[in-house]
């Protein structure tokens, strides 16, 4: 029972990290912090992975001392596979984070803000501009002059009379 509880706490901690990370990504607006939140979530996933190979009273899967000569070892070892996987996934995480940071730098350079809302706004405006579409968002912020519809110059009576 205690083993189960400890296990559960461990797993629960990993899951908790994941959820915290996700909540961070969703609720934060500063893009640098969003990256940090992502890092937390990744840490949670990695933790989960490494716990999957955890055994009570087991040693690290490295042969030392007499174990070297007495193969296969009699001592209980933890699962080496998740450890290898975690190694891989940490490095992967580093790569992604570095790229995300580079993007943050460039986004900041271009938009002079770290606020995701503002960035999103400006990005949509940019896309609309480059595709020549009048932005939906521009309705909310009119830019001074707005072209009025052309006045009806035709005499309605004349044209109506013919029809």
């Amino acid at each position: 029972m205690t083993t189960n509880l400890i296990h559960w706490l461990l797993y629960g901690g990993a899951m908790g990290l994941i959820v915290i990370g996700i909540v961070g990504v969703v609720t934060l607006t500063n893009i640098f912090r969003i990256i940090l939140a992502l890092v937390i979530a990744e840490a949670g996933a990695n933790l989960l992975l490494v716990i999957a190979g955890y055994r009570f009273d087991a040693i690290a899967p490295i042969l030392t001392g007499q174990a070297l000569s007495a193969m296969p070892t009699t001592q209980i070892m933890v699962d080496p596979v998740p450890q290898a996987m975690v190694l891989t996934s940490i490095v992967i995480g580093v790569g992604v984070q570095a790229l995300a940071l580079a993007l943050v730098l460039k986004v900041y350079k271009n938009y002079q803000t770290l606020d995701l809302r503002e960035i999103h706004h400006r990005m949509l405006a940019d896309i609309d501009h480059s595709s020549g579409v009048i932005s939906l968002l521009s309705e909310e912020q009119p830019k001074g002059e707005r072209p009025l519809p052309e006045p009806e110059t035709k005499n309605v009576l004349n044209s109506g009379g013919e029809k």
Binding site: L38, E42, A45, M85, S131
Partner: protein, 493 residues
């Protein structure tokens, strides 16, 4: 001397060496990539001749499930052949800026091949991540402010997705104690519980970011409208299919229960509705195509959610059709990127492009006898055959979506074909390079039209083969199981 591992090793090797090559000779940088892709194509095609039944290859000489194995059947080889082919078509031959884009494309090719071939869950995850990072780089390659912002959002949602997928993989590992897909398939009974199914859901949502699955595809319109058309074509055409392939493998091997299928069906349906409705509302071609791509991927998902061979055949057909049509369409957006209203006279300035647009649009709507129709027919008969209320709803959704699709595509087509002012014509002229590639896609579509019967037979063969769970398991695990595993397996059973 022929080994499919080259399809992964060679592009990666070349990509690693590309910076060094480029410091030596600029022209070599440009030609080494296509050369490697041709070699990859040759390797993949060479296997088609040899392959009579699926084969597994143990990498590093370690037998699965301990080591990682590649699973070679018609479907994975088809993808492995399509990857270099698409890359060759969409290669930046006229890029003089340096080696980075080429390098990323080669990495993408290697990762995609690995993804298509791999039979190990974590290995798939690694290649998926490699694929993601390479596609992030390519998405930002335009270097506009909007492209950076869009890519950043893409990175974040994709990163969260991979966290979920990794969680799913960890859950599967805790349930089965193995990562090899075939081995997981053997132990599938242990996954038919809330934990296993949750793992599936997490993986679907996570990988679904790339597969443009419904709620996690917020990045699609942004990235596709900021990236260059070639990259959009690649992402929408090829990469999304590979992500779908992962889901199918998992589905076939481990999750044949109705609950997993229902999840896919619902997500697919929502994707169709959302994608097509949004596409209807969009006012420029790039976003229209991105949204319609979401809708199409939804259809693919719906197809795969049909149990049995019928669903597999329909799904593969839809997938291949979309793989040809969507890149062709994206290539046409290069100079037609203004609002749709201003496309008047486009047909006069480049009639071939207008013809191609019409061809792609008709095939996408599913007008017989174009290939799109047959794919849709397979889907419709499959849905009717599945004979469950939810599938009938999916049918209604599919057919309604087709009407909406017909409306927005045809209103665009009619704009393109209507007469416009002469002074706009120059602006609407298509660049010959992109037009040539789009023409090739069109030609492929027409070629498919004239070889429907053999294609259909091949499709059925592929579908039966890849929906055969026991065949998949047998193929990988017939490579002599290590005694311990055999023991454990028998114990578990």
């Amino acid at each position: 001397m022929n080994n499919i591992a080259f399809n992964v090793a060679l592009p990666l090797l070349t990509a690693f060496l590309l910076p060094i090559i480029s410091s030596g000779s600029k022209s070599a940088t440009r030609f080494v990539g296509p050369f490697v892709l041709l070699a990859m194509l040759w390797f993949a095609l060479a296997y088609f001749n040899v392959l009579q039944h699926p084969v597994a290859i143990a990498l590093g000489g370690f037998l699965p499930p301990l080591g990682i194995s590649f699973h070679l059947d018609n479907l994975s080889l088809l993808m492995a052949a399509l990857i270099p082919l698409m890359m060759l078509l969409l290669w930046p031959y006229n890029n003089r800026e340096g080696f980075r884009e080429e390098s990323l494309l080669l990495l993408l090719a290697g990762a995609a091949s690995g993804l298509a071939l791999s039979g190990d869950l974590f290995n798939i995850y690694v290649f998926y991540e490699l694929l993601s990072v390479a596609s992030f780089g390519l998405a930002a390659a335009n270097r506009t402010a909007a492209a950076f912002a869009a890519t950043f959002r893409y990175v974040i949602i994709s990163g969260l997705g991979t966290v979920l997928a990794l969680t799913g993989i960890a859950l599967i590992y805790t349930q089965t104690g193995t990562l090899n897909l075939a081995h997981i398939g053997l132990l599938a009974s242990q996954l038919n519980n809330p934990v296993g199914l949750s793992a599936f859901a997490l993986i679907v949502i996570g990988i679904g970011v790339k597969a443009e699955i419904f709620p996690v595809n917020g990045w699609v319109p942004e990235v596709y409208s900021t990236a260059s058309p070639r990259i959009s074509a690649l992402l929408a055409g090829l990469i999304s299919k590979l992500a779908v392939l992962v889901i199918i493998r998992l589905l076939v091997v481990a999750y044949q229960g109705s609950q997993a299928l229902t999840l896919l069906l619902v997500l697919g349906m929502l994707g169709i509705i959302w994608g097509e409705l949004s596409a209807w509302h969009s006012k420029d071609l790039k976003r229209m195509f991105s949204f319609s791509s979401i809708g199409q991927l939804g259809m693919v998902l719906v197809a795969f959610s049909i149990p049995g061979d019928a669903g597999m055949a329909a799904g593969i057909a839809m997938m291949l059709h979309h793989l040809v049509v969507k890149p062709g369409m994206f290539l046409l957006t290069e100079n037609w990127n203004g609002p749709i209203k201003k496309l008047k006279g486009a047909a006069t300035s480049s009639p071939l492009a207008a013809f191609l647009f019409m061809l792609f649009a008709l095939s996408m709507i599913g007008v017989p006898p174009l290939p799109g129709f047959w794919a849709k027919l397979l889907l419709v008969t499959g849905l009717v055959e599945a004979n469950a209320p939810l599938y009938i709803i999916a049918l209604v959704v599919l057919l309604t979506a087709t009407v909406i699709e017909a409306h927005y595509l045809m209103s665009t087509a009619l704009k393109i074909f209507s007469r416009g002012k002469k002074k706009h014509f120059k602006k609407l002229l298509q660049t010959p390079f992109n037009l040539t590639i789009a023409t090739i896609f069109g030609a492929v579509l027409l070629a498919a039209l004239f070889t429907l019967t053999p294609l259909g037979n091949k499709l059925n063969q592929i579908a039966t083969e890849s929906s055969d769970r026991s065949l998949y398991i047998k193929t990988t695990l017939s490579l002599k199981l290590p005694p311990q595993v055999k023991q454990q397996v028998s114990k578990v059973q």
